[in-house]
């Protein structure tokens, strides 16, 4: 397996939708290619960091104001 082939299926590797035979090829490639190993590891960390840190916070006071406005508008359309 070449680096370009590995990068092309990186998403499937991350999402664990890889056939067993391909998985074996990937493991062989990763054992000898430090760069691809780093890319895999840090891409996983990238996803994890965005999952665990909310980029666009909706503060409780704003949330309550918007929620009340939505429900009020819905009530009026009844």
């Amino acid at each position: 397996m070449k680096c370009s082939e590995f990068l092309a299926i990186l998403d499937d590797v991350i999402d664990q939708s890889i056939a067993a035979t391909t998985r074996a090829e990937i493991e062989v490639h990763l054992r000898k290619c430090g760069h691809c190993e780093v890319v895999l590891d840090t891409t996983r960390k990238t996803i994890e960091i965005y999952r665990s840190h909310e980029v666009y916070e909706l503060p409780p006071a704003v949330s309550e104001r918007l929620h009340a406005a939505i429900m009020e508008r819905c009530r009026k359309t009844k």
Partner: protein, 221 residues
């Protein structure tokens, strides 16, 4: 952080379906529950597309109102949340159109189709790199980094990786093909990783660019 569960089995009814039925029967409190459940996610999607807080607030309100008015059109073939996101995406694009005085705006905007999925910076990250920044600094880095992506990448990443929608659901919500979602997701992930590496890379020892690695073009300019 809420995560959308994977599609329930054919015979298993998603809890939202019962809530939608109650709303259709005139129970507004059931809609209150649905709004509470998804308002944060809808606000986030609207922010990713409009990049404007005021617009995102308006989009979120308009999307929930429109969904309420059109609830009879919800067929139940897709999940309620996917249907809701599609409405919010359309509302967000309409809002951008208004701001840009009628110029056509689509989810495909700013996508460079020729650009491949390439990793440029191979430096490894420091262990727990986020601990080198305080909360405010980290929030700014994450926001600035994702804002640098094309809109069509940002929203795919947000739906697929942050909200946890499947590739098929993301495609449905955005009106894109499955291969288009896959291609954008890969490029979004790699571009975010490259950009975050500028902040999170190990300080020392320095990692030199690959001599014979993929594309071998070293650190991103």
């Amino acid at each position: 952080m809420s995560t959308i569960q994977s599609v329930a089995g054919q015979n298993e009814q998603h809890p939202d379906v019962a809530l939608v039925e109650r709303v259709r029967a005139g129970d507004l409190s059931a809609y209150d529950t649905l709004v509470r459940k998804y308002e944060r996610q809808l606000f986030r999607i609207a922010q990713h597309i409009t990049q404007n807080r005021e617009d995102a607030e308006d989009v979120m309100q308009d999307a929930f109102l429109k969904a309420y008015e059109k609830l009879d059109q919800f067929q139940g073939n897709s999940k309620f949340y996917t249907w809701l996101v599609r409405i919010a995406v359309n509302e967000s694009l309409m809002r951008l159109r208004k701001r840009r005085t009628g110029r056509t705006v689509s989810i495909d905007e700013d996508i460079e189709t020729e650009e491949g999925a390439v990793a440029r910076d191979f430096a490894d990250w420091a262990p727990n790199p986020e601990q080198n920044y305080n909360q405010a600094e980290l929030a700014e880095i994450l926001k600035k980094t994702i804002q640098g992506l094309p809109q069509g990448f940002r929203v795919v990443f947000a739906l697929r990786d942050v909200d946890g929608l499947s590739t098929e659901e993301t495609a449905e919500a955005l009106g894109l093909s499955v291969p288009a979602v896959k291609s954008r997701l890969l490029r979004a992930r790699l571009q975010l990783r490259d950009r975050l590496t500028r902040y999170f890379k190990k300080k020392s020892p320095a990692v030199s660019p690959p001599a014979n690695g993929p594309r071998g073009n070293g650190a991103e300019a």
